[in-house]
């Protein structure tokens, strides 16, 4: 009787994913329109208000820096809500005030710390507020008031991480989660592609046929269909596009579709699919879900959401050769 061999471990608390995009910084600042409409006056200082909507959740990022505002507009492109009618949902906007620390000695996470430091994110609850810290930022979030602040240097990586953490926390409370995975929509149905680094997420995204819409090549956004929450009869899940880019350095399309399947990728000698049991699928999913908080209640919710997901959505292991024929497996 070998009881001891029956235990396996995986950690849901994954390190942040490395950012390599640097889109906005290296592009010439483009002229923007409607700037005056978004300028609010507060204590005779101009406040720029950039509302970024991801997965129906709008976060209004407020800054006094026109340079940072322009950085946000460029980086989040179509995810920036310019007019109220562009909003997908009538939910209240969350507010995030960004305070830039100039010449503060805070390292630029992207250039100075590198990948090795990506796991130093700390997320904890302190006096009913979420406190998020990494070498290059400190942020607080009050989930009741739906307000918070970020203190960071002028770079796009810190705010990008804060938004990921914030969305992972908000999603956890509503039965969804972020996954380190690519996702795409084809024929109105969404598919998720997860795998170890180098398993082929970016390759498969690059090989996508013209009729496929890439939601993201890096961080997938999964949420139960509204009004059909997990726990009822277990509704289907939806995938949303995200601006969180990976190696393609290209943000996803701002669209959504019901999830029809998930594939665990590995490059192989032939294109082949293999179905996973719910338990195998759950195990794989746990490895790729991004969740940062050490909070018992939220961990339980994410656990239940993952099990609900594998109950509703078919998960298959997909071996593929890096050519366009791989997409024939995805129907």
């Amino acid at each position: 009787m070998n009881l001891c061999a029956s235990r396996r471990k995986a950690c849901l608390l994954q390190p942040e994913i490395s950012r390599r995009a640097g889109l906005a910084l290296r592009q010439p600042a483009r002229l923007w329109d409607g700037l005056v409409d978004r300028m609010l006056t507060s204590k005779s200082v101009s406040v720029y208000d950039i509302t970024i909507e991801i997965g129906d959740i709008a976060v209004s990022v407020r800054t006094e820096s026109s340079e940072f505002a322009r950085l946000m507009e460029d980086r989040y492109a179509e995810f920036v809500i310019r007019e109220p009618w562009q909003r997908a949902m009538e939910q209240p906007v969350m507010e995030l005030d960004v305070e830039l620390l100039l010449d503060s000695g805070i390292p630029n996470h992207e250039s100075d710390l590198g990948d090795a430091a990506e796991d130093d994110v700390s997320v904890r609850i302190q006096a009913n507020r979420w406190v998020m810290e990494r070498g290059d930022f400190r942020a607080e979030w009050d989930p009741e008031c739906r307000r918070g602040w970020v203190r960071q240097s002028l770079n796009p990586y810190a705010i990008d991480s804060v938004l990921r953490i914030l969305h992972s926390l908000i999603l956890a409370r509503s039965g969804g989660f972020l996954i380190h995975a690519a996702s795409a929509v084809r024929n109105g149905r969404a598919f998720i592609f997860a795998g170890e680094s180098g398993a082929g997420k970016t390759t498969l995204s690059r090989l996508a046929p013209r009729d496929a819409t890439i939601l993201t090549d890096e961080i997938s956004y999964v949420k139960p269909v509204a009004g059909n929450r997990a726990g009822a009869n277990g509704g289907p899940f939806e995938a949303f596009g995200t601006p969180f880019a990976g190696e393609l350095a290209r943000i996803g399309q701002k669209t959504r579709a019901c999830l029809a399947g998930m594939f665990i990728l590995r490059q192989g000698p032939e294109n082949r699919l293999e179905s996973l049991t719910e338990r195998e699928a759950a195990w794989e999913l746990f490895r790729h879900v991004l969740f940062f908080a050490r909070d018992e209640d939220l961990v339980r919710r994410v656990f239940e959401s993952i099990l609900e997901f594998v109950r509703c959505v078919p998960v298959q292991r997909m071996a593929f050769q890096p050519n366009a024929a791989a997409w024939e497996l995805i129907a």
């Binding site: 009787m1 070998n2 009881l3 001891c4 061999a5 029956s6 235990r7 396996r8 471990k9 995986a10 950690c11 849901l12 608390l13 049991t277 719910e278 338990r279 759950a282 195990w283 746990f286 969740f291 050490r294 018992e296 209640d297 961990v299 339980r300 994410v302 656990f303 239940e304 099990l307």
Partner: protein, 98 residues
């Protein structure tokens, strides 16, 4: 040997899938997968039944295994799960078992 009572920790999320337990520690979000035998012990860990009784009723009754050996293995196993914080072990009945 003194009696050993076991109870599932309260700080976990757990679900049986395909006859095996998936358990997540809510404290540090570590995930565990128990095999068929581990699952039998886990499901019987009510804080009121001794480990010896569990092994006798759930394992020795179903599997061809020498009782003393099975108990020794089970003891090492529950100590390990205790170390991970997902199982409680006591010399007395555990009355507030989850």
């Amino acid at each position: 040997m003194s009696a050993m009572y076991i109870a599932r920790s309260r700080e976990i999320a757990a679900r049986a899938l395909g006859g095996e337990m998936m358990i997540m520690s809510a404290r540090d979000s570590t995930l565990f997968n128990l095999n068929e035998l581990g699952t039998l012990i886990w499901q019987a860990a009510d804080g009121a039944t001794t480990l010896e009784q569990i092994v006798e009723r759930k394992i020795c009754a179903e599997y061809e295994v020498e009782p003393a050996l099975a108990l020794a293995d089970a003891e090492a196993y529950v100590r390990e799960l205790e170390g991970f914080g997902i199982l409680r072990v006591s010399g007395q009945p555990i009355t507030d078992a989850a």
